[in-house]
């Protein structure tokens, strides 16, 4: 294979993996606080259409990003009220949130089907973008891809280098102890869930405003579920989430290239590849109880109420 094509595939994989990066990092923070929100797909869809409408109305990317993030956070807020205040079951509420999001986004988007948006230009950095191989690989993306990298660094730093991050993780591990120490478990979980929603919304905005600048019903097409799987795939580590997201993007892109090169593998089989990869990795990490126990938040998915212990 031509080296240049290889670089192009890598660059395309980064772009294809970016929606996963946003949604999965957000979900990671939520899960680190001990809450399992299965509504990622729905939050991404509502974020996508809200960002799209804002972009179509104002033409401003910043407004689109803010609208998409707020819409995602609003969806997450519904989930938080249900599960944290009203103590509903997290799995059922999360699934309901997704179904709600699919319908709501289709309804909001009725008048916006196939409106043309200008898209988000790639940033051209003088000199750096012109370096033959590295320029294409590192300095040829749009602003939303760079900001996902910055968010990754910020989240890693927050979770593992700050006291606030430690408290968040502590709440995910042992909410009772955190409560006994005087931390507001429910309040902090609210913030984590809202953050996860905003990130999922941003992932949706990336899809509808930058990646394929258009709105169609259900355009997130299962990426929210993949993001959920990625968090487990990565055993709740931000760096592995990034690796997993790009690997996933890479397999998606590679399967089209394999077809283009005329290699004889049924297209249907190739379409399954990313999902098979997730299942295989899940099997491998589940075999080793220690990895799970070390990284998985101990109270994940359990309802918690301070007065009820």
């Amino acid at each position: 294979m031509d080296f240049d094509i290889f670089i192009q595939i890598l660059a395309a994989a980064i772009a294809a993996g970016t929606p996963f990066v946003y949604a999965a990092l957000g979900e990671l923070v939520t899960e680190k606080s001990g809450v399992l929100n299965l509504g990622v797909e729905g939050m991404m869809l509502v974020g996508a259409i809200s960002g799209f409408i804002a972009m179509a109305k104002t033409g401003s990317l910043i407004v689109a990003i803010l609208c998409g993030m707020s819409a995602g956070a609003l969806m997450a807020f519904i989930f938080a009220v249900l599960t944290l205040t009203l103590m509903a079951n997290q799995v059922a509420s999360g699934l309901a949130l997704t179904i709600f999001g699919v319908g709501l986004s289709a309804f909001l988007g009725l008048k916006y089907t196939s409106i043309a948006l200008p898209g988000v230009p790639e940033i051209h950095i003088p000199f750096l973008s012109d370096i033959p191989v590295l320029g294409r690989l590192f300095f040829s993306y749009d602003i939303l891809i760079y900001s996902s990298l910055i968010l990754f660094a910020a989240i890693s730093w927050f979770l593992y280098k700050t006291k606030a991050g430690l408290i968040l993780r502590g709440i995910g591990e042992a909410p009772k102890s955190a409560h006994a120490l005087g931390y507001n478990v429910i309040g902090i979980r609210y913030l984590a869930v809202l953050f996860g929603g905003a990130m999922a919304g941003l992932g949706g905005v990336y899809l509808s405003v930058a990646y394929t600048p258009m709105w169609v019903e259900g355009m997130v097409a299962g990426r929210g579920w993949v993001a959920l799987a990625l968090v487990v795939f990565a055993t709740w580590r931000p760096a592995r989430v990034m690796a997993g997201a790009y690997l996933f993007g890479g397999i998606t892109i590679a399967q089209f290239h394999i077809q283009g090169f005329g290699i004889e593998i049924p297209a249907q089989l190739l379409s399954m590849l990313p999902y098979i990869a997730t299942i295989i990795v899940l099997v491998f990490i589940s075999r080793d109880q220690n990895t799970i126990r070390l990284n998985s938040p101990a109270s994940l998915g359990q309802t918690y109420h301070p007065n009820n212990q």
Binding site: S114, T212, S271
Partner: protein, 361 residues
């Protein structure tokens, strides 16, 4: 069961009365025409073209007709309900515009023998169900000529949905058109296994461009291939509708299908009581296939060649599947002086010479 039959019988009696009444008063009555669409109308794509046809019919026939459409009707039981409701509420002519409406249409038509039904892209007819389809491949052949002339890399990219004869026919016609003006052209095909998935269509287009294709076309429904071509600075040939506003520089033209004439004629026939169920397969000659305005970057002589080929297809002197045609192995599948019959076209299951890769099984 008994209740259903009773309802059905009383329904029939009422229907007969209504039909009798309407016959006596038909001169002053408007013809009510219903349309069933698979997706939202939007502003480009399969359903949009059908809706353009509906609007043109309304314009042509004025107050002789009254139309109604129902969007986003999923194929299957839901479709049957929608078609039945239309028939029940007095729609005398109903167009159902997706392949999967075939059996629901036939079923409802049996219940309403005095109503007229037209089903698009199907192959089953009955006493009151006709079918209609366009010769999409004629448009493909013309766009192939433009692509063959505009490519510098001699690699054309084709984003395809599902390996069924209709799609394969389009790929072959496009390839034959391109190779009629540029024998070195190769066509790369990527299957995305979806009629409508902008993300996948974008990724497939990007892969084709990376692998050297400098003109992209597609047999999928979204505008993503045109958008991607615009972004990457290559050319695109759209399908269904003019998509030039999604890629003003990339968009060379689009192979579109036009239904205004057909809808007008059919409604007029029903008004005149001359309607018969037919299997209509119409193309350039009947005005059912057109190209969207050609981008000014296409040289004048190429536009002239497209025009003369269009005329040739219309008067029958040119057939896109005119022999000699070879398949991928170089074997002659259509001998010189012959062209493929409609039946052979409808069952096409091989690639012609110049298409790379194999048809997924």
């Amino acid at each position: 069961m008994a209740i259903t039959r009773k309802h059905f019988l009383s329904g029939l009696i009422i229907l007969a009365c209504v039909a009798g009444l309407s016959l006596s008063a038909s001169a002053a009555e408007k013809l009510k025409v219903g349309f069933v669409y698979i997706s939202p109308i939007g502003d480009a794509g399969w359903t949009y073209q059908h809706d353009l046809g509906r609007r043109e019919m309304e314009k042509n026939l004025g107050d002789k007709v009254e139309t109604k459409y129902i969007e986003s009707v999923p194929e299957g039981p839901e479709a049957e309900r929608v078609i039945r409701d239309l028939a029940k509420s007095g729609y005398d002519l109903i167009f159902t515009t997706s392949f999967g409406y075939m059996n629901p249409t036939l079923k409802v038509a049996k219940m309403f023998p005095r109503k007229h039904f037209e089903h698009s892209t199907g192959y089953k007819t009955s006493k009151n169900v006709g079918t209609y389809m366009c010769r999409f491949y004629e448009g493909r052949y013309l766009t192939g000529i433009i692509a063959g002339k505009m490519t510098k890399s001699n690699v054309l990219g084709y984003v395809a949905a599902f390996p069924i004869p209709e799609v394969i026919r389009g790929i072959n016609a496009f390839t034959l058109g391109a190779r009629s003006v540029n024998p070195d052209v190769k066509v790369k095909v990527i299957w995305v296994n979806s009629w409508f998935d902008p993300g996948k269509e974008r990724e497939a287009s990007e892969a084709l461009i990376t692998q050297g294709a400098d003109v992209i076309t597609h047999h999928t429904d979204s505008t993503a291939p045109t958008l991607t071509a615009e972004e990457k600075g290559v050319y695109a040939i759209a399908y269904h509708s003019d998509m030039s506003k999604y890629g003003p520089h990339a968009h060379l033209t689009a192979a579109t299908h036009v239904y205004g004439d057909f809808y007008t004629k059919t409604a007029q026939a029903v008004l005149d009581n001359t309607w018969k169920p037919e299997q209509v397969w119409s193309g350039i000659k009947e005005g059912s296939i057109e190209l969207a305005p050609i981008n000014p970057v296409v040289p004048k002589d190429v536009v002239a060649l497209v025009d003369s080929t269009t005329k040739g297809i219309a008067d029958g002197s040119i057939h896109p599947f005119q022999g000699p045609i070879r398949d991928q192995s170089g074997k002659v599948v259509v001998e010189a002086g012959k062209s493929l019959s409609d039946k052979e076209l409808l069952g096409m299951n091989y690639y012609v010479e110049g298409v790379l890769g194999n048809i997924p099984k």
